[in-house]
C-alpha cells in the first residue's frame, strides 16, 4: 500500500497516479477492516474508490492531461521535498519511540455473551443519537458544495 502511495507521487502519468491511489485506498480499506472497522472499510471503498477516484479519473481523461510528462521536474523542489519528508519521518520515528502505549498489540474485543459485534449498528446508533446534530451540519456542507459545483460549472443559458 505504501508502495502504491509512493507510486502516486512518482508516476509522471496522471492516470497511472490515480490508479496507484485507487490501489492505495483499497489497501487502506483492508487495514480498516483488519482493525475491525468494517463499516469504515466498506465506506472507504464505496466513497473513495467508487466515487471520488472515478471522478478524478474522469476529469483527468476529460482534460487529457499528459502534459507534465514533457516538463522536467524541478530538481530543487524534489530535493527540498525529500529533505522535508525525511525530517518528518525522523520526527515521527522519534515520537513513536517515546510512546510506550504504542507497543501494545491488538487487544481482543470483548463482546457480551450472546451478542455479535456489529460496528455498523454501533456507529449508526451513535450517529443518530449523539451526533444527529453533526449530520445536519454535514447536510449543510453538502448543500453548499452542490450550490458551489453548480454555480462554478453550469453555464447559464445565455439567451
Amino acid at each position: 500500500m505504501l508502495l502504491f502511495g509512493v507510486g502516486v507521487v512518482v508516476n509522471r502519468n496522471p492516470v497511472a497516479s490515480a490508479l496507484c491511489l485507487v490501489v492505495s485506498f483499497v489497501g487502506l480499506a483492508s487495514l480498516f477492516i483488519s482493525l475491525d472497522a468494517h463499516f469504515l472499510g466498506i465506506i472507504q471503498i464505496l466513497v473513495y474508490t467508487g466515487a471520488v477516484m472515478v471522478l478524478f479519473l474522469f476529469i483527468i481523461m476529460l482534460l487529457d492531461l499528459k502534459e507534465e510528462a514533457r516538463r522536467a521536474l524541478n530538481a530543487w523542489a524534489v530535493a527540498g521535498g525529500a529533505v522535508v519528508a525525511l525530517c518528518l519521518v525522523g520526527t515521527l520515528l522519534h515520537v513513536l519511540g517515546t510512546f510506550p502505549k504504542g507497543e501494545a498489540t491488538l487487544p481482543p474485543l470483548v463482546v457480551p455473551e450472546g451478542q455479535t459485534y456489529e460496528d455498523t449498528k454501533a456507529l449508526g446508533t451513535l450517529l443518530f443519537t449523539e451526533y444527529v446534530f453533526h449530520v445536519q451540519v454535514i447536510g449543510l456542507l453538502l448543500l453548499g458544495a452542490t450550490v458551489g459545483v453548480v454555480a462554478l460549472s453550469k453555464k447559464e443559458a445565455s439567451k
Binding site: M1, L2, G5, V6, V8, V9, P14, S17, S24, F25, L28, L31, F32, L35, D36, A37, L40, I43, Q44, V47, Y48, A51, V52, F56, I59, E67, E68, R71, L73, N74, A77, G80, G81, V84, A85, L88, V89, L92, L96, F99, K101, E103, A104, T105, L106, L109, V110, V111, D119, A122, L123, L126, L127, I138, L141, L142, A145, V149, L152, S153
Partner: protein, 105 residues
C-alpha cells in the same frame, strides 16, 4: 505490524508521502490526490487509535465517527475542488502550478 506503533508508522509514512507529493508535483490534480492521501492517512491514525483504545472492550466509536465524517467531508471537498480546477482549466488551459502567476509580488 500488529502493534499500534506499526499502524501509526504506516499512517505517518502515508501522510508524509502525501505531503511530499504536494511539495514536489506540479499538476494540480495530482497535488489534490496527494491531499486526499494525507486525509486518508489521518483517518488510519484515527481508526488505529480507536481500535487500540478500547472502551468497555469495544472500539472507541467516537473516533470512528470522525473518520466517517472525514470521508464524507473529503468527498465533498473533491467535488468542489475539481469544479474549481476544471473552471481554471477552461479559462486557462492549464493545470500546472507554475502557470498560476497572475497573483503575487
Amino acid at each position: 505490524m500488529g502493534t499500534l506503533n506499526g499502524y501509526l508508522l504506516v499512517s505517518g509514512l502515508l501522510f508524509t508521502i502525501g505531503l511530499t507529493g504536494v511539495m514536489v508535483r506540479r499538476n494540480i490534480i495530482i497535488i489534490f490526490m496527494c491531499l486526499e492521501l494525507m486525509l486518508s492517512a489521518a483517518n488510519l491514525t484515527l481508526v488505529a487509535f480507536s481500535r487500540f483504545g478500547l472502551v468497555n472492550g469495544l472500539p472507541n466509536h467516537h473516533g470512528q465517527l470522525l473518520v466517517f465524517f472525514t470521508i464524507t467531508v473529503a468527498a465533498a471537498e473533491v467535488a468542489v475542488g475539481l469544479a474549481i480546477i476544471v473552471a481554471l482549466y477552461r479559462a486557462k488551459q492549464t493545470v500546472h502550478v507554475e502557470d498560476l502567476k497572475s497573483l503575487g509580488g
